[in-house]
């Protein structure tokens, strides 16, 4: 293989978009069912689009402010790469566009899936899954095209006299573009999470608990907002989250590759840089193949439905193991075998986290059943048991990531030694492990996006009064979606952790490039230890270890310790803010639903239609208002820490947020998922079944767990990546200004 093999990267991106378009057209050709089904789907669609419009308006303002700041930093002070302001916009735009297409497809698909399920379970499954695949393929397609475009542009315009430095400049510049995707993801995840749970909790509290109205009953004014929320949170939010992980992991690994292979010659270095992109391109092709294998038979059991999805995931994963080995060997990387082991490690970590999530959140296993059993002694024991399960569920994912990091490092570096020669290579291994985990994202995101589509199809079937056989099929598809949603969350958290680790390592590389900029402009730079550099050559001689030593990045440095504590605290602060936001927004929803019951006579007799749009508007406004503070804090704190206590503080901040945020995210997602399924387990006829004391207690557990698993937990993924990304983008500021 030679340098022209890069062409496969944009081709894979285009291929992903082509199949996404084909699946979309195929879905649109399917019947949308009866007039009633179309009306209900129309309400959800218009609500979802109204939310997106409002969100993009707020995000647009935020982006405009940051664009101005970046322009000042880049062109005013020269502290940032001049490409950043524009490329930052393009990455954000790509993420937003993927969210838009995903939501559009999902909201068009729900009624069609319900209608397809009336013909057969297989048709329903295939239509729902391929509609979910549109989101998966649009995310990977747009990300690959964006990366390809900017890599091509920078390759033409960036030059450097120092051998090997050109690719380092290109990759670290590319990496900073990821902040656009990070920022967009933050709004999508936090805003989407607040929207969906405000609607869900509001609909449940007034509808189910207060008025005794069943779920998905069209008489509940918040029902449509609840259905919109499924799309907003689990499609747009999850898509933007994984778009950021995908984008960030590829670019961080490229940057680490440029540094690690700098001394191997420009050709090998180039191959190391494009390796993560080519692996992702291969993953796209294999994801598409996997999507075509998903099918089932009529009357399939839940286990068989799960097997249909698992078959596709395992097939693609198996093929990526084989394909990436051949690819790396063909690329001629000196330690291709070690890098390949790192990729396989990443894939394995993803599968282990997914499986562990399933064991801790599925009612098929003991932990969740124990929560159901605790319901017999009341809600307090349900809460205690759920938290206990959540805490213990962190063990396997954390050990998997820890072991994965060690194995990936050792495999790529050729051992566990920690010296200048092996460090860069080891970090490249960690980065490429994240790429391996995300390589089949087109497929794994399809299984995630499938969940809300099936859920909405079930809601549509219920509200449209479709027959019992259809409802049984949509219920089966929905139950499968609940499992994939839980494992998808585990996957998203795991990939965020590995991506953030790669970003942490890339931060040092970025510091080096910013130092080169600094001295190129004729300034000398004095490190905290008193030593100074005055020339590009002197900076070039600083390897990662030396650079960290000069910046006094040491666990014993109080600045780093302070950053560490602040980073840990940030994870909790972020959770607190988002939980309170859900509480307030849900309260507004409760009051609105009560008002409608009071003022619109005939809602409960079915003679008058509730004002669905008003509930969507309340959730939208609540989400937009409430997401500004957490978003602002996530952007401001890394900059402030950098300006006040400098590089060691930023390192501490990133490490603290990553370690605490990762564990906390696993805890919140798993305890929330376990509470949800514990309630479902009781409803299936255990510990007294519906209406029993255990049911009442587990309903409370489920309501508490809603913001855990769908708002605060997933938002932490973004926090840990965004803070790293902000630190990378503003690394120039850390060079120029530090108070202490």
């Amino acid at each position: 293989m030679n340098e022209t093999s890069f062409i496969f990267v944009p081709i894979a991106g285009l291929l992903a978009l082509f199949f996404a378009f084909a699946f979309f057209k195929s879905m649109m050709r399917a019947s949308e069912g009866s007039e009633r089904m179309q009306i209900i789907a129309g309400h959800v669609r218009s609500g979802a689009m109204a939310y997106l419009r409002q969100q993009y308006r707020v995000v647009g303002v935020f982006f405009a402010v940051i664009l101005v700041l970046f322009c000042i930093l880049s062109y005013g002070f020269g502290l940032q790469n001049p490409w950043v302001p524009f490329a930052f916009i393009s990455a954000g735009f790509g993420s937003a566009l993927a969210g838009y297409f995903g939501m559009k497809t999902a909201t068009y698909a729900s009624a069609r899936v319900a209608q397809a399920a009336s013909e057969s379970l297989d048709l329903g499954l295939r239509l729902a899954f391929r509609s979910g695949a549109v989101m998966g393929l649009v995310v990977v397609g747009l990300a690959m095209l964006d990366i390809s475009f900017w890599f091509f542009v920078l390759n033409r315009f960036v030059d450097s006299a120092v051998p090997g430095q050109k690719l380092m400049i290109i990759t670290t510049t590319l990496l900073t573009f990821g902040m656009g995707a990070s920022l967009q993801a933050l709004f999508a995840r936090v805003g989407g999470g607040i929207f969906t749970k405000a609607a869900d909790v509001g609909a449940d509290l007034v509808g189910k608990v207060e008025s005794g109205i069943p779920e998905d009953d069209p008489r509940n004014p918040a029902t449509i907002a609840d259905n919109v929320g499924d799309n907003v949170g689990d499609i747009a939010g999850m898509g933007a989250d994984l778009y950021e992980s995908y984008y960030g992991s590829i670019l961080a690994t490229a940057a680490l590759g440029a540094a690690a292979f700098m001394t191997f010659g420009e050709s090998v270095q180039y191959m190391a840089v494009i390796a993560p992109m080519l692996i992702a391109a291969l993953g796209i092709v294999l994801s598409i193949l996997g999507i075509f294998t998903v099918r089932t038979h009529s009357g399939a059991s839940q286990r068989e439905l799960m097997a249909a999805l698992n078959r596709a995931v395992y097939l693609s994963s198996g093929m990526i193991v084989l394909g990436s080995g051949i690819l790396l060997w063909g690329m001629g990387l000196p330690n291709w075998g070690g890098v390949w082991v790192a990729i396989v490690t990443g894939l394995a970590v993803g599968l282990v986290i997914g499986r562990s999530t399933e064991i801790y959140t599925s009612a098929e296993y003991r932990p969740t059943r124990a929560i159901s059993a605790a319901g017999q002694t009341g809600p307090a024991t349900v809460i205690i048991a759920g938290m206990g399960v959540g805490f213990t569920s962190t063990v396997v994912p954390v050990l998997a990531v820890a072991l994965g990091v060690l194995v990936a490092y050792a495999a790529a570096a050729g051992g566990m030694q920690f010296n200048s020669a092996s460090l860069s290579m080891g970090l490249y291994g960690i980065g490429i492990a994240a790429v391996g985990m995300l390589s089949t994202l087109g497929l794994t995101l399809a299984t995630d996006a499938y969940g809300p589509i099936a859920d909405n199809a079930g809601g549509n079937a219920e509200m449209s009064g479709l027959g019992p056989e259809v409802r049984r099929r949509t219920d089966a598809l929905d139950a499968l979606g609940n499992t994939t949603a839980a494992t998808g969350k585990g996957f998203a958290i795991g990939s965020a952790a590995l991506t953030a680790l790669a970003l942490l390592a890339s931060y040092v590389e970025t510091l080096k490039i910013r130092l080169i900029d600094w001295v190129e402009r004729g300034h000398a730079f004095v490190f905290p230890d008193g030593s100074a550099v005055e020339s590009v050559e002197a900076v070039g001689e600083l390897d990662l270890l030396l650079l960290m030593e000069r910046f006094q990045v040491s666990l014993m440095n109080p600045k780093l310790l302070a950053g560490l504590f602040i980073g840990s605290m940030m994870a909790f602060l972020f959770c607190g803010l988002t939980m309170n936001a859900v509480g307030r927004a849900a309260q507004s929803m409760v009051e609105e639903v009560r008002r409608q019951f009071r003022e619109i006579s005939g809602i409960l007799t079915g003679e008058a239609e509730p004002d669905y749009a008003r509930c969507v508007e309340i959730s939208t406004k609540g989400a937009q208002k409430e997401m500004v503070l957490p978003a602002s804090i996530a952007v401001i704190v890394p900059i402030a820490v950098g300006l006040i206590i400098g590089v060691p503080g930023v390192f501490g901040l990133m490490a603290g947020a990553l370690s605490t945020g990762f564990v906390l995210a696993v805890f919140m997602a798993n305890s929330g998922g376990a509470w949800d399924n514990a309630k479902k387990h009781v409803e299936e006829g255990h510990f007294g079944g519906k209406g029993s004391q255990a049911h009442n207690a587990t309903v409370i557990g489920d309501t508490v767990g809603d913001p855990f698993k769908d708002t605060s937990g997933p938002s932490l993924n973004i926090l840990i990546k965004l803070m790293s990304m902000v630190s990378i983008v503003t690394a120039g500021l850390n060079i120029a200004f530090t108070a202490f």
């Binding site: 005794g212 069943p214 009064g465 409960l604 519906k690």
Partner: protein
């Protein structure tokens, strides 16, 4: 809303025990009775439609005609209480027409009376008495015998008439010692087991009270054979629809009933 200003409907409500006259048809009355006119109240309702021609006292009809008139704005009169307290004992069984079960969010299911075939070889039954008293009782008597015994004036404990429902016991009826009771939502299931075991081992006593007074609503999903109205010389039986009918013909009501929380 099903309003016929020319017609007055008479309802015998079990909760609270009362005779009500209304200008609403049974569906609309059930909806109104469960959720109120502005959704400020919520509660399950169980009531019979009453044949006015079979009422024991014709003065009740005159009183109804005088009191149950449209509101000044022309809106129908939704409920006028004619009698409360000891209403059931004053109504002949022939006056009771269909039985209506309203869920707490106002969905209404109408049940017709039918002949009851006594089930042989069932050792234990669980009965929820609904009116005029409301304890929950396990009994070795079948519904006909139970109704006869509880309305027998020669017994020391009796009522002139009674409305009760038979509740599910599933495998517990046959094997209270070890059978699983996973899908039975009754509180303190171990106490229920003890009651059945005691009943099985002491044949001189056919009935045993499980709960003195059930304070929550009746959970419709626990209804086994149906509802009974018994007096010393007669009985009405209102069979509860089977699962397949509930999931198809009566799905909307059933879905709502399953969402209710109760005991």
């Amino acid at each position: 809303m099903g309003v016929n200003p020319m017609k007055l409907y008479y309802y015998f409500s079990l909760i609270p025990e009362s005779l009500i006259v209304s200008m609403l048809d049974p569906e609309s009355f059930g909806n109104y009775f469960a959720i109120g006119s502005q959704k400020r109240s919520r509660g399950q309702a169980i009531f019979f439609e009453v044949d006015p021609d079979k009422l024991p006292d014709s003065r009740w009809l005159h009183e109804a005609a005088r009191k149950c008139v449209p509101h000044e704005d022309g809106a129908p009169r939704k409920s006028t209480y004619l009698r409360i307290y000891r209403v059931l004992e004053s109504l002949p069984l022939s006056a009771l027409k269909r039985l209506y079960l309203a869920t707490s969010d106002g969905r209404v299911l109408g049940l017709d009376s039918a002949e009851h075939a006594v089930e042989a070889n069932r050792p234990v039954h669980l009965y929820q008495e609904l009116c005029p008293v409301s304890p929950r009782v396990v009994s070795t008597l079948n519904p006909v015998a139970f109704g006869r015994q509880i309305t027998d004036p020669t017994e020391s404990v009796w009522v002139p008439k009674i409305v009760f429902a038979e509740l599910k016991l599933e495998e517990l009826a046959l094997n209270p010692e070890t059978a699983k009771a996973d899908n039975l939502p009754y509180p303190n299931i171990e106490h229920l087991r003890d009651c059945i075991k005691e009943l099985k081992n002491r044949y001189s006593k056919p009935n045993k009270m499980v709960i003195r007074q059930v304070r929550e609503e009746v959970l419709y999903r626990t209804i086994r054979s149906g509802f009974f109205v018994a007096e010393p010389n007669g009985m009405l039986y209102y069979p509860f629809p089977d699962k397949s009918d509930l999931e198809t013909i009566h799905y909307t009501w059933w879905h709502s009933a399953l969402s209710s929380l109760g005991a």
